[in-house]
Amino acid sequence: MSEGVVIVGAGHAGTTAAATLRQLGFDAPIKLLSAEATLPYHRPPLSKAWLAGEKSAEQIQLRNENFYQINAIELINSCSVTAIDTHNKRLECAASLLRYDKLILATGCQARPLAGLDEYTNVLSLRNLADARRLQEQLGQAHHLTLIGGGFVGLEVAATARKRGIAVDVIEAESGLLKRVLPDLVADFFLQKHRTEGVNLHLNTVAKSFQAKENRLCSITLSNQHTLYTDLVLVCIGDSPAVDLAGAAHLRTELAAIYVDPQLRTSCDHIYAIGDCTSFHLPLSGQLTRLPSVQNAVDQGKAVAQSLVGKGTGYDPVPWFWSDQYNIKLQIAGVSTDNTTLLLRGSPSDEKFSVLEHIQGRLMAVYSINSAADHLAARTLIKNKLPLDVNLAADSSVALKDCA
């Protein structure tokens, strides 16, 4: 394999793939291409600890600068890939052609934009470190922040801003926050928490028109006729997988993401894809799924390395996820499916509880609030498919790991 592996994208997935290949004894060349100018870094702190000024850029690096050279991983920064030439197995980049034997696409996602707002200097999005730097700089001057979109990114930034004493409004099209990703009990918990922390919520409404002075937005009129005044806006209405390269190379896409098989292979047998840019059939649920999360990025990064050295056992994860907002740690294990029965353990009023979703005792998903023991037990129980004693599980004085 003289040309080795080229990995497009140096986020959690791409960097993990490179590191795992070396750990498994892969000794052909590895090129890790980053569109950014910095060393690879952890993305979650950008809306939390880094944005709050609690961590520096050095502290959130995925590996230190010597790691790549020590492991003969050629990290190429500020690299812009324009096309994949699948016939000749090479990448067309802005300034060069890179040959490969195997290609891994780890291109991640972009923040979905809201049309018509590009010209305003105080309307931002948050996906990468450069975005986070702009946001942090403007937060330093802002009295009022508006989040368009009440999903995880928006709410984490809202919590960080509230801790800094900045007034915050959230505009959300649905009837509650996080409605599409959490059971009602947990979504309602977050709604109450943000209200209690002083966030002004505008639900069942969208931004209808914008008023500006020079090139700064100063107010937004909502579909419910209300006008809100603001000096900084963050658009956080979801992410879209970066699939332009894949699409142009005619790779199969599903759910607007690059479709991969259990070996992380795309529809082209020498091209693999991992992380936020992918969709696949999740064995746990049997469903076609996207899992934009650190867990999936890291685990697909490891799995693709195993596939490439001929040791792939098929990607079959128990998904897990976390979000930190104020003093609340949400942890999710598994994935929601239809026909589940819900079971509550613990106490929402104590800000310490879990909602379990099971099918006749077989645990499918657990949503935990400040209940790390439940979360970690759930990951094992879901993986091993052990039937739960639901009466014991409803009793929070019994450890969840002892309920199967």
């Binding site: 952890h42 690096q61 590996r63 010597n66 930190d324 400040n370 790390a372 023991a373 970690l376 037990a377």
Partner: protein, 107 residues
């Protein structure tokens, strides 16, 4: 003198890594930054994964809080009385020349 804190990690197979970290960084960040093997830190320090398990000198053995204590019950190898999560230990002058042992696995 700078705020460099010199510490040593010893892996399960007895490899020694003598490294230097800065005051205020976590033990986990310091290990990762110095390519010490044997720490996974899947969640990057959010106290959400229990994969940065270390064995510490007895003076450091008390977990920071209930969350760390609860997470320590879930580590991959059996919890010992001197088990801690490296992401919850901040480098301080008390840790100068401290030695940390790593478990044989984190997952």
């Amino acid at each position: 003198m700078s705020d460099a804190i010199n510490i040593t990690f010893i892996t399960a197979d007895q490899q020694r890594f003598s490294i230097s970290g800065t005051l205020g960084s976590s033990l986990m960040e310091t290990a990762i930054a110095n390519n010490v093997p044997g720490i996974e830190a899947e969640c990057g320090g959010a106290c959400a994964c229990a994969t940065c398990h270390v064995f510490v000198p007895s003076s450091l053995a008390a977990p920071n809080d209930d969350l760390e204590d609860v997470m320590l019950d879930e580590v991959a190898v059996t919890r010992q009385s001197n088990s801690r999560l490296a992401c919850q230990i901040e480098l301080s002058t008390d840790l100068q020349d401290a030695v940390f042992h790593l478990p044989e696995r984190q997952i």
